[in-house]
Symmetry: C2
Subunit: 99 residues, 2 copies
């Protein structure tokens, strides 16, 4: 399993709009090939900073299948006007599941 960690800074005053956009986008991720989980977290120290955490079966399910899909365009259409700069996207593997 691959964890996509997308760090997204949202423009001041657009937090509610952004959160509503992510909620609307849930079905896009749910039907994306290889997408196994999706959650949104919000930083306590820097409240304009969100992290979208998306689980994928393979790296390519995100970087090729999803990014080249129409649903990716729909996803960006729902939220990108709220972005303050480009999201910082990284992928990670689970190394240890303690508990």
């Amino acid at each position: 399993m691959i964890l996509e960690i997308a760090q997204i800074t949202v423009k001041s005053g657009m937090e509610e709009l952004f959160e509503a956009g992510v909620t609307q986008a849930v079905p896009l991720f749910r039907r994306a090939k290889g997408c196994v989980s999706m959650e949104l977290t919000r930083s306590i120290e820097i409240p304009s900073r969100y992290r979208l955490l998306v689980g994928w079966e393979t790296l390519e399910n995100h970087t090729i299948d999803f990014r080249n899909s129409e649903d990716f365009q729909s996803w960006r259409g729902l939220v990108s006007h709220c972005f303050d700069g480009a999201p910082q996207v990284e992928h990670a593997r689970q190394n240890l599941k303690g508990f």
Copy 2:
């Protein structure tokens, strides 16, 4: 639930030692007050970058209870010699659980 996100850069060549230290530290987190989960991820794009993701019932369970405990000293004793610079620690709340 609060998610602690500790981004840790590990010195080159010390990755295995660091991972072994985190494995040894699992019982310290398991018995920490309010600690509900713990996992370690490793970045694909930047393999020296790990993220320790720890779930806490409250922010203070981490910032006060754990950080002032002897187990925190033990935890740091197990892994801090592998750190390349200070960890970047942040806390987040789950905003939306899509699926």
